[in-house]
């Protein structure tokens, strides 16, 4: 009897344990309460960049990577849209796009076939300062890939029929791009910031494409497409001696020609707040792009600028996003960016907002921008920004193509080793004082403000501004309205 009682008690006790164990009442493990602290940051071992220059002046950078059977080639030509003649904007792009449109004994369609048969992909990107030809393919085709690229650069045919085709596709591409309010806003911001400067040429409209001729292409090509005005970045499983031997074999006959790049001073920063509305009928939201030129020449100054940008608008936890979207609920999103050019930078803020809060949004952005010039950023925000920049850096160099692209940008914009080997160190050195000094030296105040939207939906909500310039989609000034003139 007594024994049975004990058994019952034991069974009851066991059941209770099981019940408590399975029930939510059972306390969770302590470690679940709060996020674990990160371990020390692992060292970033960047791959070495080995360099060599051919006798004709073609510079070669090789990044040896052996983990994938892929080759990435990036040919930088140190001439971009800002090098197009004054009256022929768009010429740099047309010239670059023509390179794969036919070479001696190889038509455009044969070139396309060849590229795809290497498992490859070829594209061109034109920046204001430089042109980048990108070619990625399977490593089995290393020899053939280099040969094909060399033929594009040494023997392009520039046939008239193909020029017509490329001009047509450039024309329609641009028309399609002008459907995008963000594209229009950024183009207009550049147009206004670069007014009277060489860089204005990169903001052309589709109308000018018809002015470009075969003669112009040949002349641009002969002037700028020279080995001593180019730099080849190669990533793949090969070392410098092999790469230079192969590159030399196909590029040694590329003839050099002396070329002097005159120093182009940066555009003058905007000094007075300027409000510009680009009127696009029928769209429901307002896109704000506001920015200014920061004419820094010292590349070391980029690092505090990057940290400042991060604090202000680099991510969804930065000040602009938290204020305009999370707190005020004005914006769908709000970010800031630093755009690199060869001799200067552009700092800009972008936001997509409801039309009725356009004025308030611009004022909030201005207030946030002003705040960083008046009050030191607390250390924890600086550290958070640095943590983002350091954590994010390797994400951009994971593929061979991204690796080549990052090195190409450094070479093309002369960013130097500071941006490669010492990137982590340079970011780590930034503190509240350095960021504050940067903010006060180059206050991104008095920006050009571009608002893209339907004037019927927006104009009533921005009449507090002293003066509003109204532009059409192509950037032509239609009207200037002063405060009080809006009915």
């Amino acid at each position: 009897m007594k024994r049975g009682k004990h058994l019952k008690a034991a069974l009851f006790f066991l059941l209770m344990i099981l019940f408590v164990w399975e029930s939510p009442l059972f306390p969770q493990e302590r470690f679940r309460k709060s996020p674990p602290n990160p371990e020390p940051l692992s060292a970033l071992k960047l791959p070495a960049i080995d360099s060599y220059t051919l006798t004709n002046g073609l510079a070669l950078s090789v990044i040896q990577q052996d983990n994938l059977p892929v080759i990435s080639l990036k040919m930088i030509i140190f001439a971009g849209e800002s090098h197009s003649p004054e009256n022929l904007p768009g010429l740099a792009k047309l010239t670059a796009k023509m390179l794969s449109r036919g070479v001696s004994y190889l038509s455009f369609s044969k070139i396309e076939e060849r590229i795809e048969s290497f498992g490859g992909n070829f594209s061109v990107t034109i920046y204001p300062d430089y042109t980048l030809l990108s070619f990625t393919f399977l490593e089995d085709y290393l020899e053939k890939g280099i040969e094909l690229l060399s033929r594009m650069l040494l023997q392009p045919t520039f046939f008239r029929r193909e020029i017509v085709n490329v001009k047509r596709s450039m024309y329609y591409d641009l028309i399609r791009e002008y459907e995008d309010p963000e594209f229009i806003a950024k183009r207009q911001l550049h147009r206004l910031l670069f007014s009277g400067h060489n860089y204005i040429k990169s903001t052309y409209n589709e109308d000018v494409i018809k002015n470009l001729s075969q003669k112009d292409i040949v002349s641009f090509f002969q002037k700028y497409y020279r080995p001593n005005n180019a730099h080849l970045v190669l990533t793949g499983n090969l070392n410098l001696p092999t790469a230079s031997r192969k590159v030399s074999r196909y590029f040694r006959n590329w003839r050099r020609r002396e070329l002097k790049h005159a120093f182009v001073p940066p555009p003058n920063p905007n000094t007075k707040l300027r409000i510009c509305l680009v009127d696009i009928r029928g769209i429901n939201d307002a896109w704000i792009y506001m920015g200014n030129v920061i004419s820094t020449l010292d590349r070391q100054e980029i690092f505090p600028l990057l940290v400042l940008n991060q604090v202000l608008g680099g991510t969804r936890i930065s000040r602009l996003f938290m204020n305009l979207r999370e707190s005020k609920e004005y914006a769908y999103w709000a970010f800031s960016e630093v755009e690199f050019f060869k001799n200067f930078n552009v700092f800009f803020v972008k936001a997509k907002v409801r039309p009725e809060v356009t004025y308030s949004s611009v004022m909030e952005i201005l207030a946030e921008t002003k705040k960083i010039t008046e009050k030191k950023i607390p250390s924890f925000e600086i550290e958070q920004a640095k943590s983002f920049l350091i954590g994010n850096f390797p994400l951009d160099i994971q593929t061979f193509d991204n690796l080549s692209a990052a090195v190409s940008e450094i070479k093309a914009l002369n960013l130097g080793k500071e941006h490669w080997e010492k990137y982590y160190d340079n970011i780590m050195l930034i503190n509240s004082e350095k960021a504050f000094k940067m903010a006060r030296t180059y206050p991104p105040l008095s920006p050009v403000v571009v608002i893209v939207g339907d004037s019927h939906k927006i104009i009533d909500h921005i009449q507090e501004f002293t003066e509003i310039e109204i532009y059409n989609r192509k950037g032509i000034l239609r009207q200037t309205i002063k405060k009080g003139e809006i009915k």
């Binding site: 969770q28 493990e29 996020p35 990160p38 369609s109 399977l138 991510t315 954590g391 390797p394 593929t399």
Partner: protein, 449 residues
């Protein structure tokens, strides 16, 4: 028995033995093929599958948690549950505040994303490798204790309803894509509704529905955790055990009945899409199951017809004939079914008719004529590059491992998977074209108002 017959029998036996040895020996000497990158597999006591791949090239780590659940697991009247739950996975759990998952990753410069498809739900993130424990903490917390309340369910439903309405009002051809799927897939409901859900269903979903769906499917024994990057394998699995092993195992989810192909008869259906700026059409075929051997040939056929600027259909419709403004397509997999889909936009209906005839003519050529060696090498190289591109990043590796596991293929298959595509012959192509690209042709003609 004569001596002669004895010798003969001995000879036959010897010959047989040699044959057998010939069959065995080479395979014994063949080296086992390595996978494209190394990985190790583990299984926790609660059923969670864990796959870890070390890659020390950059100080990054990618973590993928993939659940074997998607829109085809939803009950009629509750369409959109899987996608709704994906949204709620960012709205907090016992120890993680709403949106804290996102902000913690943002703060350290990481990236994250989530995707729901018909048959899987994937959560992915890439961060500095020193943050691994933090990601495991985040993922394990929402696997064990997601906060599902009336209020956060209603909020998520509101956002999704807004998204459905926005898409309906603004996305040209969206309606045609939905109707085309209804024609192309078996009539069984789970296959023919959009992953995002239906407006009426979304309104009816309650917090209890979400809780049940969560407890049925978001359980360790219905998930795979894959980690790739700059980590120490032993340390990583020890962290995984710490955060995941005490999460209780759930009831094994009932396997959903998978409809077989219905062998549909060819049909042509016209519709009017009020948002479409130009007419066009969808064309589709039932093709080999994703797990069948014929699937490899079908994938190469997809490349011959549709991949790249020199593919047969792009060449014919866009470059040569100029009858189409736009063409896209490819193979779509939904669990055990696969379809080849082609979508074309034309200037007018006459051009649409010509485009269709041109596509049939190109398919006919593929049925009867051998593909040239050059073209076969080209498409295989294009495929090879795309295949390699899947695992050029740590995230790509983690995703490939998780998706291979969910597809029910053995991970060992990764060692030979690419080779199987590259082994497709011109004979395989003719055979597969004749088998799959004739019957069951479904056409949806899009007319404009």
């Amino acid at each position: 028995m004569t001596e002669h017959s004895g010798i003969k029998k001995g000879f036959i036996a010897l010959t047989l033995l040699l044959y057998i040895l010939a069959g065995i020996l080479p395979s014994q000497t063949q080296e086992k093929k390595e996978p494209p990158f190394p990985f190790s597999e583990y299984q926790l006591s609660n059923g969670l599958k864990v796959i870890i791949s070390e890659d020390n090239s950059l100080p990054l780590v990618s973590v993928v948690v993939a659940y074997n659940v998607g829109s085809i697991y939803e009950q009629a009247g509750k369409f959109g549950l899987a996608h709704l739950l994906e949204r709620l996975m960012f709205q907090g759990s016992e120890n993680v505040r709403p949106m804290q998952h996102i902000s913690l990753i943002d703060k350290v410069g990481g990236i994250l994303n989530a995707t729901t498809t018909e048959d899987k739900t994937i959560f992915q993130q890439t961060v500095s490798s020193n943050q691994l424990a933090r990601i495991l903490w985040l993922e394990s917390d929402r696997m064990r204790s997601l906060q599902i309340t009336q209020s956060n369910v209603e909020q998520a439903k509101g956002t999704i309803l807004e998204e459905i309405r926005h898409r309906k009002a603004t996305e040209p051809y969206r309606e045609s894509y939905l109707i085309f799927d209804q024609l192309l897939y078996p009539d069984t409901p789970p296959y023919i509704h959009p992953v995002i859900g239906e407006e009426a269903d979304m309104r009816n979903i309650t917090a209890d529905d979400v809780k049940k769906f969560y407890s049925d499917f978001y359980i360790p024994n219905n998930a795979v955790l894959s980690i790739a990057g700059n980590i120490d394998k032993k340390k990583a699995i020890s962290e995984v055990r710490k955060y995941f092993e005490t999460i209780p195992k759930g009831k094994e989810p009932h396997p959903i009945p998978l409809p077989e192909d219905s062998k549909k008869t060819p049909i042509v259906v016209p519709i009017t899409d009020s948002l479409a700026p130009s007419p066009g059409f969808h064309l589709g075929y039932e093709i080999a199951h994703p797990s069948s051997n014929d699937f490899y040939a079908m994938k190469i056929i997809e490349y011959i017809l549709l991949r790249g600027k020199t593919s047969r259909l792009y060449n014919r419709l866009i470059k040569k004939d100029g009858t189409a403004l736009y063409i896209s397509g490819g193979i779509e997999k939904k669990k055990n079914l696969a379809r080849l889909k082609i979508f074309v936009i034309n200037n007018n209906e006459i051009m649409a008719g010509r485009s269709k005839r041109a596509i049939f003519s190109e398919i006919n050529k593929l049925r009867s004529r051998q593909i040239s060696t050059e073209e076969l090498i080209k498409v295989k190289n294009m495929f090879k590059m795309d295949y390699i591109n899947q695992y050029t990043t740590s995230l790509g590796k983690a995703l490939l491992l998780a998706e291979t596991f969910l597809s029910k293929k053995s991970l060992d298959a990764l060692s030979t998977e690419l080779d199987k595509y590259l082994a497709v012959t011109s004979y395989n192509i003719i055979r597969a074209t004749n088998k799959y690209l004739i019957k069951g042709r479904i056409i949806l003609d899009i007319k404009i108002r």
